[in-house]
């Protein structure tokens, strides 16, 4: 079982948090903080596994994480998951994000956290791995997006226009912010399949 999936950036700001067991909001923040502490102090070229200890539910659990550009992707899993399997799952997740957002970067995750949730929901459900085939995931996501668009139809048009205007008026368009190398480069890892 996967107990939790967390994404946060190099400063520990949460970009996505998904807990498959109930924790109060305060505890959730504490877990994110502690996880960030554990993960961020590790060097780049050490192993990607961490015995999470008491963070989430006991010694059986492990933190498995990957670090891409400015973001940490952390999965907290118990012993029924294969460590290397989860690493590959993270890779699939990031590649899927890359495909859905077209060159994903941290800003995509910041402004479209709902979409990230939707993508994740196609991969992991209730803590169990649902689908690992990227094409299948992307197909389902596309189909759902299409449906959303057709629902919005005419009614959605004014809202879209307004948001376009809003974006125009604002001095900073998210895409134009220069925060150095923010786009998540997806390295080509030896694929799992």
């Amino acid at each position: 079982m996967i107990k939790a999936i967390l994404i946060f950036n190099n400063h520990g700001k949460p970009r996505l948090s998904k807990f498959y067991e109930h924790y109060s909001e305060d505890t959730q923040q504490q877990i994110i903080r502690e996880t960030f502490h554990l993960v961020s102090k590790r060097d780049e070229n050490v192993c990607n596994f961490l015995e999470g200890g008491m963070l989430i539910g006991g010694a059986d659990n492990k933190l498995i994480y990957r670090h891409y550009a400015t973001l940490y992707f952390v999965f907290c899993v118990d012993s029924s998951e294969s460590e290397l399997g989860i690493l590959d799952l993270i890779q699939v997740f990031v590649e899927t994000l890359d495909k859905c957002f077209e060159n994903v970067c941290e800003l995509d995750l910041i402004f479209h956290v709902d979409k990230v949730h939707n993508i994740l929901a196609e991969m992991v459900m209730g803590g169990m791995v649902l689908e690992t085939n990227m094409n299948e995931i992307v197909t389902q996501i596309d189909a759902q997006n299409k449906m959303e668009k057709s629902e919005a139809g005419l009614a959605g048009a004014p809202a879209r226009a307004v948001s376009a205007v809003k974006n125009m008026n604002l001095p900073e368009m998210p895409r134009n912010i220069n925060i150095g190398d923010i786009s998540i480069k997806v390295p080509n890892l030896p694929s799992f399949k």
């Binding site: 079982m1 946060f8 400063h11 520990g12 700001k13 949460p14 996505l16 998904k18 498959y20 109930h22 109060s24 909001e25 305060d26 959730q28 923040q29 903080r33 590790r42 060097d43 050490v46 192993c47 990607n48 596994f49 961490l50 015995e51 029924s80 294969s82 460590e83 290397l84 590959d88 910041i110 402004f111 479209h112 956290v113 709902d114 949730h117 939707n118 929901a121 459900m125 209730g126 169990m128 791995v129 649902l130 689908e131 690992t132 085939n133 389902q140 189909a143 449906m147 959303e148 629902e151 919005a152 004014p158 809202a159 307004v162 948001s163 809003k166 900073e172 998210p174 799992f192 399949k193």
Partner: protein
């Protein structure tokens, strides 16, 4: 007015959306660090601090959101909810909006629905009170024609399913498991795990279908099913052993690495329970290890092979090859540059270590190397490994290496870890590997130099343990401890709890208890009474005082023996001078002991003044050896007869006993509370702590309260006080270290020399022997030193710990009673009983009971639990109804279900006995036995797989073939078994009641139960009959009623490719009749076919299932249908078709249902059933076979059998009861049937007749 509305909605357009919110928060950033932001925002939420801009901005946004949530427009609400979901991630509690979230969930638009479910999945949990309002909405979404509505509901539900939701929706989800879309199927399968967890009763009814899904054509669904069963089996593996053959088949056939990994992990959990399974697995697993390129798979294979080897454990010489293979592969992993593989390699290695330490020990170099790794995770793993690798020979060397690491280690956590590991390694299995305890004591002493460790108590415990249990070492230990005490002030600096000063506790005790070994007792005694000692924690001081007493006694004795009166008086005087500082101590224990001993010594002084020899009597105070007691000894003391620990000794203490004003009384008060706790377990530790806190508070606020001790040292007593004491870091260098080499190193050197010496001695001896034997055994000179050869330095007498007499042998492994998985420990092999059904939505209007129920009190009883549940549900329905009064349209819906309700009570008539259930699994188990026992024979005849890789390939496939066949056979067999078992039990029960009448029946039940040991084996039977066939494809079909849905039957069709081409795009279509319709996917017309979800390579067969709905089931029906497909050969492809006629017999609507004879009798008496009978002549088969045929082909079960007469029962999917009385005469059989519906009965009897005449 209208204008206002328009204006309002335009205003709404300018509401912030999620992006605006995020942007806003980023613009109002005042604190770059996340910690700051969150801390502030959390404070803001609590209303404590609103100083930061961002927090202000967010609270402003929340106000806006609240306003938006009040709007009627659902789009606005959804927008608000998505923003809330974002804020939830930042740590804001959004549970107040739960109701609005539900509103958004119930929107008809997918866009909003998805937002609603997302927010719900983020913040709903069992404690959310409005969650029960979602039941109907979720049910509606689950049955939505849009697959994504269903999907989104399933995803959401998986995050917040509660026991109530699970109970109410289990049936709906179960239907979804057979949904036409694999997308829905896989989600439904996965969520079942959550449902099982919350509602364990659903496991048994749902399990057969879950099992089915293991062979689903869609790999995603298959993987989901494997996933769920693996999760289930991990917690309660023994219940899933019977699935091993199925998983074995999957393992050898699947190519999906995810599935393979899961299955292999599952086998890892199963093998400890069934070693034979392990033997069977080794071969395919080693093959996989050799063939796979995926590291993850390789790793899991190695892991499971290790588990297998552990389960086989002893004496399998031919498996040494497998061990070698594993170790060798792991070495490759550990040597890999990828840190992840290195980590995992070490992890797996530690598992091998437990059973095969020898094979790991050869890789010691590698593991010691890992200790130097920069990665802490890897270092810790390597440490774990070292634990198992030590031997008598290398212990000192390894510990020396670890000591170096201790010195080098940065960061206290890792150093503490090292410390505990050193102690673990040395003390493991009763100090098995320690040859020189002097060395160990000096290691422990060296460890006390560690700064800031939390493990002082651990070192102390070791010191005590060694000193007490190893008699020979006491003298040395005492001298070392005396040294520690002399330098005690250096250690005292570390005042933390469990800090290093704990070792002084051990040192003082050892010096006191074994004072006879002390070189200079006077000096030690002085050291123990230094004023510096009073800064130590109370419990240590207490030990100091007590042992000062012991020491004094022995000094006194020494002096008296020497006749040195002056020295004796001197020492007495010293104690009298020094002890008062302890009498004023804040710690009660210290106070008490000090005053006791002080008074005693004052008395001694008086006696001394009179020149009376006192030493003997004083020594008597501390006489007797203290023996170590085993940790569990207390638990194992048997309870004496007639002692009731729960009985009240006094009357319950009244709560009113007010808080004491008198500080002296406090002692007793505390005691009283403690004893009260024993009697009232519900008053827990927390509660006590809280009360104490309250009392302290009261005392602090009470100006008249006299503080218990006027001494300023009082502060030391409470933990908070300790923090204020400035802790001086003292440089601990000179006194403890022997100049030059650390002490333990000296021992190492000595030890080496000693061993060398021993070796030489031995060799000398051998040479002598050799000379005697004239060099007969030359190879002896190549002899390597083994553990046994190393003799300990001095004879060490390790005292075993004491246990009480007649200790209870029970080794109680305490299981957590709150374990949520315990509820899922359910036997799945038992046949489903009738009352084990998932609750189906029913309507309360039809509460009028059917007459049968009222007439049978026995049945009433058996139904109680389910009825109760129903009542509860009805109540809930009531509530819901009240809430949704305006929704009149629902009523209409309910009335549809009224029909079902009518059927339900009738279905509940038959209930199983526990006896019958308990006997069934043996049948399953024997199947498993058969599967397990068979192959080893096979594999024996095969060439050794490891050596000969080429040969192993065909072997594997051969194995697979045989397995497949066997599986098929077993399927048929096991279903037979089930029926047989029922029969047997029925007859047995019958026998009991009618024993007097039928004495001669004795053999009958024996012969009915045929499965394994009968004289007349049943011919193989199959319900699959040929549907149609041409040169390309052959279709076999079987029709079965759907247990869960009264109007559905499932047609399983096996397609077999008979051509040499590839069969593609097969489409299955039938012409629906008014009564019978094929269930097609949503949105397709009645003329569309259903595509068969697989392709067939040449000579391969596969099975597909099609669901049909039925209106009436009393008549047999025939449907015309066509299978169209494309045959692809090398020459090209052609379009072909095959017509068939699907024959729905009445038999296919029957469901095998067990029934009791008394219920059966009542059913017959009720007079509601119509009767019909047939007679068939020319029957030559045995009665037993005849019954078996009826059972198998017509889905009946035997209620009772007497000689050549049997009563049988079955039930239709729509709840018709069908009772048969079968009598066998000479070559003729008469069958009398009774059924609610005469048409159905007539048709069924016709079919029965046909079966009996045709096939006999």
């Amino acid at each position: 007015m209208a204008l206002k509305i328009v204006k309002g909605s335009i205003d709404r357009m300018f509401d912030k959306n999620l992006q605006d919110l995020v942007r806003g928060i980023r613009n109002h950033k005042d604190d770059e660090s996340f910690y700051g932001a969150v801390r502030w925002s959390l404070f803001t939420w609590r209303g404590e601090n609103e100083s930061t801009i961002q927090a202000k901005y967010i609270s402003q946004c929340i106000d806006e959101i609240k306003h938006e949530l009040k709007q009627d427009n659902i789009a606005v609400k959804a927008n608000a909810v998505i923003k809330l979901a974002y804020l939830q991630m930042l740590g804001y509690d959004i549970s107040w909006a739960a109701f609005n979230i539900i509103e958004v969930m119930s929107s008809s638009k997918f866009t909003f629905k998805r937002i609603g479910y997302l927010a719900a999945s983020q913040c709903f949990y069992e404690g959310t009170d409005v969650i029960m309002l979602t039941t109907n909405q979720i049910r509606k979404d689950l049955s939505s024609p849009n697959q994504y509505d269903t999907g989104v509901a399933l995803t959401g539900l998986s995050c917040f399913v509660t026991p109530d939701l699970a109970r109410d929706l289990a049936n709906d989800i179960m239907t979804l498991m057979s949904h036409t879309k694999p997308y829905i199927r896989k989600k439904a399968v996965l969520i079942m795990y959550k449902v099982f967890l919350k509602y364990p009763e659903s496991l048994r009814p749902a399990f057969p279908r879950l099992k089915e899904k293991l062979e689903d054509p869609d790999s995603g669904v298959q993987s989901a099913a494997v996933n769920v069963i693996c999760e289930l089996a991990r917690r309660n593996p023994k219940n899933y052993l019977s699935l091993a053959p199925l998983f074995f088949k999957l393992m050898t056939s699947s190519t999906n690495n995810w599935v393979l990994i899961k299955i292999i992990k599952l086998f890892g959990a199963l093998t400890p329970l069934e070693p034979r399974l392990g033997k069977k697995l080794i071969e395919p697993l080693t093959n996989l290890i050799h063939s796979t390129s995926a590291m993850s798979l390789l790793y899991e294979c190695v892991n499971t092979v290790i588990a297998v080897l552990i389960s086989l454990s002893t004496g399998m010489p031919n498996h040494s090859a497998s061990i070698q293979l594993c170790v060798q592969k792991l070495r490759i992993l550990i040597e890999d540059s990828d840190q992840n593989l290195k980590y995992l390699g070490l992890l797996a290695m530690s598992k091998i270590l437990k059973t095969h330490p020898k094979s790991v020990q050869s890789h010691k170099d590698l593991i010691l190397q890992c200790l130097d790794d920069k990665d802490e995770s890897i270092r810790l793993r390597a440490l774990d490994l070292l634990y198992g690798m030590v031997s008598k020979k290398n212990l000192m060397e390894i510990v020396k290496k670890l000591m170096i690491h201790v010195d080098k280690a940065e960061g206290t956590t890792y150093r503490d870890e090292l410390l505990t590991k050193i102690i673990d390694i040395c003390s493991q299995s009763n100090y098995q590997y320690i040859t020189n305890f002097e060395w160990y004591i000096s290691i422990l002493v060296e460890l006390t130099r560690l700064e800031g460790t939390r493990h002082g108590h651990l070192i102390a415990a070791q010191m005590l343990d060694v000193a007490i249990r190893v008699k020979a070492i006491r003298a040395f230990a005492v001298s070392q401890m005396a040294m520690l005490l002399d330098n005690g002030h250096l250690l005292a600096g570390n005042m933390q709890r469990n800090g290093i000063c704990e070792v002084l506790y051990a040192a003082a005790w050892i010096c006191g208890e074994f004072s006879e070994y002390l070189q200079e007792p006077n000096q030690t005694l002085e050291a123990m009474l230094k004023s510096k000692v009073t800064t130590l924690p109370g419990h240590i001081q207490a030990v100091y005082v007590q042992n000062a007493g012991k020491l004094y006694a022995s000094v006194l004795q020494q002096n008296e023996q020497d006749g040195d009166k002056e020295a004796a008086q001197e020492i007495t005087q010293m104690l009298i001078d020094k002890l008062p500082q302890f009498v004023q101590n804040a710690d009660l224990e210290v106070q008490e002991r000090a005053s006791c001993i002080l008074q005693l010594i004052k008395y001694i002084q008086k006696l001394q003044a009179k020149d009376v020899p006192v030493a003997e009597e004083v020594m008597a105070l501390f006489a007797g050896e203290l023996n170590p007691v085993a940790p569990k000894a207390q638990k194992k003391v048997p309870l004496p007869d007639g002692l009731d620990l729960d009985a009240w000794i006094n009357d319950a203490p009244s709560e009113s006993s007010s808080d004491d004003e008198n500080p002296k009384k406090m002692i007793f008060h505390e005691e009283e509370q403690r004893s009260a706790r024993h009697r009232q377990p519900e008053m827990d530790e927390d509660e006590l702590a809280r009360r104490r806190e309250v009392r302290k508070q009261e005392q602090a606020n009470n100006p008249f309260y006299i503080k218990s001790s006027p001494s300023p040292q009082k502060n030391y007593q409470d933990a908070s006080g300790v923090d204020h004491i400035p802790v001086v870091q003292i440089d601990l260098t000179v006194p403890l270290r022997v100049p030059g080499m650390p002490l333990s190193d000296q021992y190492l050197k000595l030890e080496e020399e000693r061993r060398q010496q021993q070796k030489q001695d031995r060799q000398k001896k051998k040479k002598k022997q050799k000379r005697d034997k004239k060099g007969k055994r030359r190879h002896d000179s190549l002899h390597t030193e083994s553990d046994e050869d190393i003799a300990p330095v001095h004879h060490v007498d390790i005292i075993t710990e004491e246990m009480p007499e007649n200790a209870l042998p029970s080794d109680d492994d305490d299981k957590d009673p709150n374990d949520p998985y315990k509820a899922l420990d359910i036997d799945l092999d038992k046949p489903l009983a009738d009352n084990e059904k998932l609750p189906v939505r029913t309507h309360r209007v039809s509460e009028k009971k059917s007459p049968e129920i009222e007439t049978s009190p026995v049945e009433e009883k058996s139904k109680k639990p389910s009825k109760k549940a129903k009542k509860e549900k009805d109540k809930k329905k009531d509530k819901e109804k009240r809430k949704s009064k305006e929704k009149v349209s629902k009523k209409h819906k309910f009335s549809e279900n009224a029909e079902n309700e009518h059927a339900a009570p009738e279905e509940e008539i038959i209930t199983p006995t526990s006896k019958e259930e308990s006997e069934k699994p043996t049948g399953e188990a024997s199947d498993l036995d058969f599967w397990l026992s068979n192959t080893p024979v096979q594999s024996k005849s095969q060439p050794e797989p490891l050596r000969n890789e080429v040969a192993s390939e065909p072997v594997a496939s051969e194995l697979e073939e045989t397995l497949k066949e066997k599986d098929k056979e077993e399927d048929a067999k096991s279903s037979k078994h089930k029926k047989k078992k029922h029969k047997k039990d029925k007859t047995k029960e019958e026998k009991k009641s009618k024993k007097k009448k039928h004495h001669s029946d004795e053999e009958a039940p024996e012969s009915v139960q045929n499965g394994s040991l009968d004289e007349e084996p049943l011919p193989p039977m199959s319900n699959y009959c040929l549907l149609a066939e041409n040169s390309y494809v052959k279709m076999m079909c079987d029709i079965q009623g759907n247990l869960q849905d009264g109007s559905q039957v499932v047609v399983s069709v096996i397609f077999e490719n008979q051509s040499s081409g590839y069969l593609k795009s097969m489409e299955f279509n039938v012409l629906d009749s008014l009564n019978t319709k094929l269930v097609r996917p949503e949105g397709s017309s009645i003329h569309d076919g259903i595509s068969v979800p697989f392709q067939l390579p040449p000579e391969v067969s596969n099975e597909a299932r099609f669901v049909f709905t039925m209106e009436s089931i009393v008549m047999p029906q025939k449907l015309k249908g066509t299978l169209t497909f494309i045959v692809k050969t090398d020459d090209g492809s052609s379009h072909e078709k095959l017509d068939f006629k699907l024959h729905f017999t009445c038999t296919s609507y029957m469901i095998t249902t067990p029934c009791y004879s008394d219920a059966f009798a009542k059913l017959l008496e009720s007079g509601e059933l119509k009767m019909c009978s047939i007679k068939v002549d020319g029957i030559s088969i045995s009665f037993q076979l005849l019954l078996a045929k009826i059972c198998f082909h017509h889905h009946f079960s035997v209620v009772e059998r007497i000689n050549s007469c049997a009563s049988m029962y079955s039930r239709s999917i729509q709840g018709h009861h069908m009772c048969l009385l079968v009598k066998m005469g000479d070559s003729s059989v008469s069958v009398d049937g009774k059924c609610n519906d005469s048409t159905l009965l007539g048709n069924l009897l016709d079919e029965l007749k046909q079966t009996l005449t045709e096939k006999c």
